[in-house]
């Protein structure tokens, strides 16, 4: 952990402690927000990382390369969208999964497509959205966003692939 983060974390902790001791209302509300969203993420992140661990030991590199690697063609993008459909949480879950895919030999375009698609077409979220805003609303959003996500991901992936870009293990 960097020095900057230590300063940030201890400053924040001191601020919350001060707020609770002296009854500073905004600070207490911020603390409550931290606890609420911290708990929400605790419901999701640990099992997600266990799944990533299981993926790393059980799925072979050849399988991922064949389906999502350089020679996978359009099929790689299909897998990206299917995998994204089953993703939980949101973008912050997609990033560590993206690294796991990268680590196993998926190509960059497919990885960016997975990240983008997991933002817009997670199945549970889509169903929930349609129930509040209507099927038409959801259909328009999916039909417009998904092709744009796929095209821009393929372009960005191809560009970065040429420049020798690498996804980091989370320590960048």
């Amino acid at each position: 952990m960097t020095f900057r983060k230590w300063i940030l974390f201890s400053g924040y902790a001191a601020f919350l402690l001060f707020s609770y001791i002296f009854g500073f209302a905004p600070g207490r509300e911020i603390g409550k927000n931290f606890a609420t969203f911290g708990l929400y993420m605790l419901k999701i992140l640990p099992p997600v990382f266990v799944l990533i661990g299981l993926f790393e030991v059980w799925v072979s590199r050849e399988t991922v390369e064949r389906h999502m690697g350089r020679t996978s063609g359009i099929r790689g993008y299909l897998w990206a969208v299917l995998l994204a459909g089953t993703t939980v949480g949101g973008l912050y879950v997609a990033f560590p999964v993206a690294y796991a895919l990268y680590n196993k030999g998926a190509r960059l375009g497919v990885i960016f497509a997975y990240v983008g698609a997991s933002a817009v077409c997670r199945i549970p979220m889509t169903v929930f959205e349609a129930s509040f805003l209507g099927v038409k609303f959801t259909a328009v959003r999916m039909l417009v966003s998904l092709p744009l996500v796929l095209i821009s991901s393929a372009l960005l992936g191809a560009y970065l692939e040429k420049r020798g870009y690498r996804i980091s293990d989370g320590s960048a």
């Binding site: 952990m1 983060k5 940030l8 974390f9 509300e29 927000n33 931290f34 969203f37 911290g38 929400y40 993420m41 419901k43 992140l45 640990p46 099992p47 997600v48 990382f49 266990v50 799944l51 990533i52 661990g53 299981l54 790393e56 030991v57 059980w58 939980v88 949101g90 973008l91 912050y92 990033f95 560590p96 993206a98 690294y99 960016f112 983008g116 933002a119 817009v120 979220m125 929930f128 959205e129 129930s131 509040f132 805003l133 038409k136 609303f137 328009v140 959003r141 417009v144 966003s145 744009l148 821009s152 960005l156 970065l160 870009y165 996804i167 980091s168 293990d169 989370g170 320590s171 960048a172």
Partner: protein
């Protein structure tokens, strides 16, 4: 929530198949989680501050602006800089829709909320690096705007 029991069953199954591998999987999981944890804490700090500064009632008020294009732009900016799980966002949007907020505005709000991650930036940059993370977010913002405009046209709220 099915996630914990589901993953537990998978873990159990994996353990019956191969103990060594399963230990390794758990070790990888713990190592990766600890590596990214500081970035997640940084993200949570940002979320706790921004949600204090931009509360739900503020969002409801700004999305209800009479001028549709202003409201759309404001909605996309708020959507970009906040963080909300779906079970809060969509009920909120349902209420706003009943209050007469246009679909285009709601589309700009929900789509940027899903695709653009200013608050998740600490996590994103840890994997993708600062430059690619910025580029990905800019592209996502652009796509969200296109989606919003398409929604507005489809629902007849704006015309070409």
């Amino acid at each position: 929530m099915w996630l914990y029991p589901g993953v537990f069953l998978l873990l159990l199954f994996s353990w019956f198949m191969d103990r060594e591998r399963t230990y390794k999987a758990v070790k990888i999981a713990a190592k990766r989680f600890l590596k990214i944890l500081p970035a997640f804490i940084e993200m949570l700090i940002l979320v706790s501050l921004v949600l204090y500064l931009v509360p739900d009632r503020f969002i409801a008020e700004y999305l209800s602006s009479k001028k549709i294009f202003t409201a759309t732009l404001v909605a996309s900016l708020i959507g970009s800089i906040t963080f909300m799980p779906g079970f809060i966002v969509f009920p909120l949007c349902g209420i706003l829709l009943k209050k007469g907020v246009p679909y285009m505005v709601l589309s700009a709000f929900t789509t940027t909320l899903m695709m653009v991650g200013v608050l998740t930036f600490p996590v994103e940059k840890s994997y993708f690096g600062v430059r690619v993370a910025i580029v990905r977010n800019l592209i996502s913002f652009l796509i969200a705007m296109i989606v919003a405009i398409a929604t507005g046209i489809f629902f007849g709220e704006v015309s070409l």
